[in-house]
């Protein structure tokens, strides 16, 4: 125990006097997390909190235009603009401004669109009435050769997903208007048939079955995963924790080069106790790093206008995940420090390998949106196990049993790396 405590104290003194190392371990990750959360906030908000201006040109001035305007406004994501400088927007001007990228989208509702929908509804009701032996009384327009269409103009730089979402929303509004008008016409026809029951005639309910979203977690916010803080803080914390391989590997190679490793091995007692002290110290540093970064998500980022990080319900599980990631990261540092002969080799390999493991492990972008083959490869990255476990705790409100498989993978991987490092060291003695 004395050897372990002495090693922890020695490592602490070494780290305390290494200003650059302290900055690398603590200051830089905090800056990284803050910057990444701020930068990625916009893409995460794209379809949720950010309001887009939509130019509307309503040549119809009927119910369709009103439905579209009200529907878009009600979604909370769009600000409908139908006049600029007190003048109604023309279709040409709207097209030009969208083309220049000043607006993301413009919608033109053609003249007579509502009348066309009404006429179509009347035609359907007349057809049904005729088949039922009732008189067809509703007025129908003569068939037109030109089918009317709501015209959309998109900013050429608009994302495909954004276009698709707009198409879907407008299609919804069109269907809604058409359905509403059809139902109205049916009611009207029925009233005309029996005017005595006009007042008691029941309204036709449009939606018999509704949609309802319920959280599968305990008290979890459904949309929490979709914000920048919730993705970036845990993800980049794991990334930063793995960067501990650089001071560990550098420290081990220096000890080997300056002979202090030889001195430690010449002292009676198992060198494993020295290694355990080193491991415990750096795992402790990883945990401190992790919680410092979590505090950034809890206290600093909300001050910068970002959402507050949600920590789930099982804090012990969160701690165990952080500790397991720390064990794996430290073991990786010890492995690199054992395998490589010079600090330069170790530092370059360490840094590049962490960037690769983090990229494939879903730190930069979620694994789910990667190609299938990459997803399979990514699931082999310890960083992805760590991120999965953190998401289980923070997003799915999971308890320890939810994260046990990932913790087991992390600890087994750490153990395997330590065994390989020991074998490499053993081989050196030969």
């Amino acid at each position: 125990m004395l050897r372990i405590i002495a090693t922890i104290r020695k490592e602490w003194l070494l780290l305390r006097r290494d200003k650059a190392g302290l900055a690398l371990l603590f200051a830089m990750p905090l800056v990284l997390i803050t910057v990444m959360a701020l930068i990625q906030d916009a893409p995460f908000r794209d379809y949720q909190e950010v309001q887009f201006d939509i130019l509307t040109v309503d040549k119809d001035q009927g119910r369709l235009g009103r439905y579209i305007r009200e529907g878009l406004q009600a979604s909370g994501q769009f600000q409908v603009i139908d006049s600029l400088n007190g003048q109604p927007v023309s279709e040409e001007a709207a097209k030009e401004m969208v083309g220049e990228g000043k607006y993301k989208i413009s919608i033109t509702i053609p003249k007579g669109a509502t009348a066309e929908i009404v006429s179509n509804a009347n035609k359907i009701v007349n057809d049904i009435s005729k088949r039922m032996g009732l008189p067809a009384q509703l007025p129908v327009k003569a068939l037109s050769n030109d089918s009317l269409a709501v015209q959309l103009y998109f900013d050429p730089a608009a994302k495909k997903a954004f276009k698709s979402a707009i198409h879907q929303a407008l299609d919804n509004f069109l269907t809604q208007v058409e359905t509403d008008l059809l139902l109205e016409r049916i009611q009207l026809q029925l009233r005309n048939r029996d005017s005595t029951q006009q007042d008691t005639f029941p309204a036709i309910r449009l939606k018999a079955v509704a949609l309802r979203e319920t959280s599968v977690g305990e008290g979890k916010q459904i949309d929490v995963i979709s914000n920048s803080v919730q993705h970036n803080v845990p993800a980049w914390s794991i990334f930063a924790m793995f960067f501990i391989v650089i001071p560990i590997a550098g420290n081990m190679i220096r000890e080997r080069e300056d002979g202090s490793l030889v001195r430690m091995k010449l002292i009676p007692g198992n060198y494993l106790s020295v290694l355990s002290g080193k491991l415990l110290f750096f795992v402790g540093i990883c945990i401190v790093q992790f919680y410092l970064m979590i505090m950034v998500g809890l206290y600093l980022l909300p001050q910068l206008g970002l959402p507050q990080l949600q920590l789930g319900v099982d804090h012990l599980a969160g701690f165990l995940v952080a500790a397991s990631i720390g064990v794996t990261a430290t073991a990786y540092g010890i492995l690199i420090g054992s395998v490589f002969k010079t600090p330069n080799q170790a530092l370059n390999f360490g840094a590049v390998s962490i960037v690769i493991l983090s990229a494939i492990g879903g730190i930069w972008i979620p694994l789910e949106i990667m190609p299938e083959a990459m997803q399979h490869i990514g699931r082999l990255s310890p960083l992805s196990w760590g991120l999965d476990a953190i998401n289980d705790v923070y997003l799915r409100n999971g308890h320890i049993r939810y994260v046990l498989p990932d913790l087991a993978k992390l600890l087994c991987c750490g153990g395997a790396m330590l065994v390989i490092a020991a074998m490499v060291e053993q081989r050196r003695i030969g």
């Binding site: 004395l2 050897r3 002979g259 030889v262 430690m264 002292i267 030969g430």
Partner: protein
């Protein structure tokens, strides 16, 4: 009893074209100051590494105070032996006191006894005023002295020093040699390697000259000098056995 005894010691490192040791055999009596001398690449460091258990020999045996150097005996040998490596095996960011406290802790010492032991050694080596100075800021001589202290905290019966006076000033060298004499006077054995043959001649009771992994001669410096009429000192003896060709 011999402090060390090596017999037919052989070592070929993995990937090496030539063996480092080719059947080295020699013994040093307990309680003496002995010198292990040889040109670069002669096998001195490999021999010391095998004696300490840091390197496994390819063949032959090595004994320390009659205990064979095997994995089973490694701990007992580590307790009996103190090694001063040629490199300054200290943490430069730590002070002399912090370094010595750490290595003392690893030896199992702690608290007041360790503090007193450290301060006593620092004083003996003239480093008491620099106790709380980072060793990275020490002069070459101060580093060498602190390096020795770190190896004698457990008071080993055998002290092995690899070039302990390399790159130090006259005063530091004199202090180190005086310490070795005093340490030996307490009944401890000292084995040291050096390229400074005048120094070896002055301090060693017995020297072994090795070359190309084999023993070429062994004996008291005066005896070795007396064996050859043209040799006036140990350096002449050394050159007689190892030649004038430059070694890499």
């Amino acid at each position: 009893m011999n402090s060390i005894a090596v017999k037919d010691l052989q070592k070929t490192y993995a990937g090496a074209l030539t063996p480092s040791l080719q059947g080295l055999s020699c013994t040093f009596a307990e309680g003496t100051i002995a010198g292990l001398l040889g040109p670069n690449g002669a096998g001195k460091t490999t021999t010391i590494s095998i004696l300490c258990g840091l390197v496994e020999p390819t063949g032959g045996t090595a004994e320390i105070f009659g205990i064979p150097q095997t994995p089973a005996n490694r701990e007992a040998i580590k307790r009996a032996i103190g090694v001063v490596p040629q490199q300054i095996a200290l943490f430069p960011q730590l002070t002399a006191y912090e370094n010595l406290r750490y290595f003392g802790n690893l030896y199992g010492f702690s608290g007041r006894p360790l503090r007193e032991k450290i301060m006593q050694h620092l004083e003996a080596f003239g480093l008491e005023k620099a106790a709380h100075k980072e060793t990275g800021r020490f002069s070459g001589g101060m580093k060498r002295r602190a390096n020795i202290i770190a190896s004698i905290l457990h008071e080993p019966k055998l002290l092995v020093l690899d070039e302990p006076t390399a790159g130090v000033d006259v005063q530091s060298r004199s202090m180190i040699l005086q310490f070795l004499r005093e340490y030996n006077a307490k009944g401890n054995s000292v084995i040291y390697t050096s390229h400074l043959l005048e120094e070896a001649e002055q301090i060693c009771e017995e020297v072994a000259i090795i070359d190309e992994g084999k023993l070429v001669t062994q004996g008291a410096p005066s005896d070795l000098i007396g064996r050859h009429a043209h040799c006036r000192n140990l350096e002449d003896v050394f050159l007689h056995y190892t030649g004038h060709a430059v070694r890499d």
